[in-house]
Symmetry: C2
Subunit: 143 residues, 2 copies
DNA sequence: CTCCGTGCAAAGATTTTGCAGGAAC
DNA sequence: GTTCCTGCAAAATCTTTGCACGGAG
């Protein structure tokens, strides 16, 4: 069970050309058991230390940077610290609730019809951030 | 000429319900003479100090926050520090060159056709960040 | 006159870096 | 054995805050 999890972590890291270390496995396992989510470096540190208490903050930052570089994670910039997203589905985007600040993955149709009105720009990726109120907060009265 | 500029700054601040102070006028004037652009707080400080050398960093941060709150500026989050955009055109979005990091305003058609596939979310705004290579950097060999 | 904005300095939050020892392959 | 990773501590970067004074309305 646990061994199975570690085996999968090792495999995943190697798929992306990374050496397998206890630190990297612990960090990867945080995301593997998370499913959908968007964690800050600090949150990753907290959770990964459950598996590996001596893990350091510097290693978390360096490792998250590596994971992004090789394509194992993507970043989500909003307010506050950078967040990391294990969902690699190229067609997903993000919704952020302006009241509770929660971020959720969303899918949008119609993206293929988007056309840039400026010539000369080579497009590699489109990031869409939808802002509004989540279901729970939409029911609330205030600002 | 200069008086005319200050008169316009005062008018603009009052339109948005803000008291007119030398600091706020100097900061507004930075954006007024900028046209299109996306400045960091530090860049705003540097430029505004040309008009008002004793302007402090804390005031710049507080004032930019106020300007955003009342709708005189919008923010652009990317890599690095937050940037501030005086372009209030609701239909404009941003292109960032992944090589030189320059941000330019862009227009996109087809945004009205975008549809969220999740129910229960109340949408207030959509921010689109297009990533790629600008014309100059597209000609370069690569990273 | 009252309230709000400003400046200073300090603190807080987030992220990066240099380097020595140790682990991965 | 070679290369790369890790941890520590320090620093760099970016932003916020508390408070006393002074200016705006």
């Amino acid at each position: 069970m646990i061994d199975e999890r570690q085996r999968r972590a090792i495999e995943r890291l190697q798929q992306f050309g990374l050496r397998s270390t206890p630190q990297r496995r612990a960090i990867w396992n945080v995301f593997a058991q998370l499913g959908q989510g968007h964690l800050t470096a600090e949150e990753v540190l907290d959770r990964a230390q459950a598996e590996l208490p001596e893990l350091s903050r510097a290693t978390v930052y360096k490792t998250l940077g590596e994971f992004v570089r090789v394509g194992l994670l993507r970043t989500v910039a909003g307010h506050g610290p950078l967040r990391f997203d294990p969902n690699l589905d190229a067609s997903h985007h993000h919704f952020i609730c302006e009241r509770c600040q929660q971020i959720v993955d969303v899918h949008l149709t119609g993206i293929e019809q988007l056309r840039l009105q400026q010539p000369g720009l080579r497009v590699h990726r489109i990031r869409i951030l939808v802002e509004g109120r989540c279901a729970a907060c939409a029911a609330e009265p205030d600002a």
